[in-house]
Symmetry: C2
């Protein structure tokens, strides 16, 4: 097995990814120094992935890197921010060799180009455990306009971008047959491995969305956060509720095929995570403006329900019957880990 030393790894694979940011000093200094433009606020978020937990040891390394980048950029999109820089922590076991790292760096390079965001710093250490990566993404948003999870109002329309449930079904497809066509399985697996942060849409929701987040832990659980936090900004206290219409939840043709062959998979659509679509609430009269913004961003948006005063998230069928599943979403550890959906 061949492995570059720490300094060669940084100089050869990572430093080229810092070339567009003079204040990253080619990753040779103790820290990066950046000027926030006038009228902009800094947005900062961190997400980590662990081999055997969030990705599989034999997943393509470039896709592992790109998913790490994208789950972080999705958090920026959910704030209405645009990407500005990334810091990467790489904890590398001995069995991660040069070809794996080169592929990983190629994934970073691809998404650096796609999203116009440099690697501005990081740390590379050895670990006796699984390969572990943590990324801090920095973004910019016009000052005073960031989209927050709090802020939903009774009567707001609940909207999602794209389609829901593909990633959870894609993870199932990675593990075994879904009984769908090969092309459909590939589509779902691709949605699981390579999420699309909605960076074209998020900033266009500024001034429209009352509350916004990205669907990472599952539609019901993430909507639960919007409900719990509603009213916090206005000091309204106890939070709100949400009534979802099950038949309005946007499904891809592949997801629809997977559910036709096993209807209980609808629970994975509602509670599975990793979609990285935007979930937001708006005043009903703004739906047209949101649709126009989404058209410019090149992504579909779908109204799936309403914010209501009664706390809790309910899923209703076409006749108004309550079909809310017991499982709400993913927890990274704790009492619900045993039913966790990830590897």
């Amino acid at each position: 097995m061949s492995r570059r030393g720490e300094f060669d790894l940084i100089a050869e694979l990572f430093a080229p990814l810092a070339a567009s940011t003079p204040g990253a000093y080619g990753l040779t200094d103790d820290a990066a120094v950046l000027e926030v433009p006038a009228g902009r606020s800094l947005v900062a978020t961190t997400d980590a992935i662990v081999a055997g937990v969030h990705f599989l040891a034999d997943d393509p390394p470039d896709l592992v890197a790109r998913k790490l980048v994208r789950v972080n950029l999705s958090d920026l999109a959910a704030m209405g921010a645009t990407p500005w820089g990334m810091l990467l922590t790489a904890c590398l076991p001995r069995d991660v060799d040069d070809p794996w790292l080169e592929s990983f760096a190629a994934g970073l390079k691809a998404d650096r180009a796609e999203f116009g965001v440099d690697l501005i710093g990081g740390d590379t250490v050895a670990t006796p455990g699984p390969a572990t990566f943590s990324l801090t993404a920095l973004g910019l948003v016009p000052t005073g306009t960031a989209l927050l999870r709090r802020g939903a109002c009774v009567g707001d329309v609940i909207v999602v971008s794209g389609t829901i449930g593909d990633a959870a079904l894609g993870l199932k497809a990675c593990r075994g047959s879904l009984g769908v066509a090969a092309a459909e399985a590939r589509f779902l697996i691709d949605r699981y491995r390579l999420p699309q942060p909605r960076l074209g849409l998020g900033p266009r929701l500024i001034g429209l969305a009352h509350a916004c987040l990205d669907v990472s832990d599952g539609l019901l659980q993430d909507l639960g956060h919007v409900c719990t936090l509603a009213g916090l900004g206005a000091g309204l206290g106890a939070g709100l509720g949400a009534d979802l219409k099950a038949d309005l939840i946007p499904l891809s043709p592949a997801a629809r095929a997977a559910i036709v062959s096993a209807p209980e998979r609808m629970e994975s659509v509602l509670a599975g995570g990793d979609d990285y679509e935007l979930l937001f609430t708006i005043a009903p009269e703004d739906m047209g403006r949101v649709e126009s913004a989404a058209a410019i961003a090149g992504v579909a948006v779908t109204a799936i329900g309403r914010m209501v005063a009664a706390p809790g998230v309910r899923v209703l069928d076409a006749d108004g019957g309550d079909v809310t599943p017991a499982r709400r979403g993913y927890r990274h550890f704790g009492p619900e880990t045993a039913e966790g959906k990830r590897q």
Copy 2:
């Protein structure tokens, strides 16, 4: 074993550490939103620690947390910056229980108070491997004044803060007897476990230091970085050299006692890391101003050598003889790992 779930862990232990930063939204949102004050630039750095590599599983958890904070704040100090916020990634194995996490959080709380810096975000995930933590520290520096590793000039005096080698000897003391008095061993172990980021000194070196970094990987190796990078800013190319006087390197009484009992330990002083003292170069005529700044900061500074044109770092004895050791410092992995000093 008892362990809080992810959301309780964040709400009960981490969210209180965000209370002074409104834009951290109590760690309930996708990201933090921060306003950089006019005339200030953002400084960003990341460092990670892994159980069994950078700390021992039975180290006091509060000290593990405080060392993680401090190694990052030390990077800010080396840029002349002041701390502004922190994002924490915690990868937790099943055997990390509530008491361990409570002690870890207590360490974060203590250093949050000591350095006036909030936890503004993070991520908490499960790992089948060792406990792993990554911290991104954000700082502020007056725009255009950040201290960089590049910039040293021929004739500059090389200066260090505090004393050198205590941490490397402290690590040896953790592993076995150094043959020094118990109080001296305790002092060295404390220096290893609880470094002092020189945040009082770093910002006061703005306008004085031509080049600056913190001694994390070893005095000789880190000084090598200063030499290699010298002239980069001015396009001078090949870098410079440094002549150190061995008998000028500032040693604590405890380190001196350890070296008296085993003179070969001087190599650990020169090549051992984890000191987190500032190493910087200045014009000779500025030494008085640097000493005044250091007196205000409450830390000693010592001139230990000169920048010279001939590339390379040399250690000279009192007679001018070359006593440079073969080993230069710590690498996190790669060819030199086998001789690595950490656990």
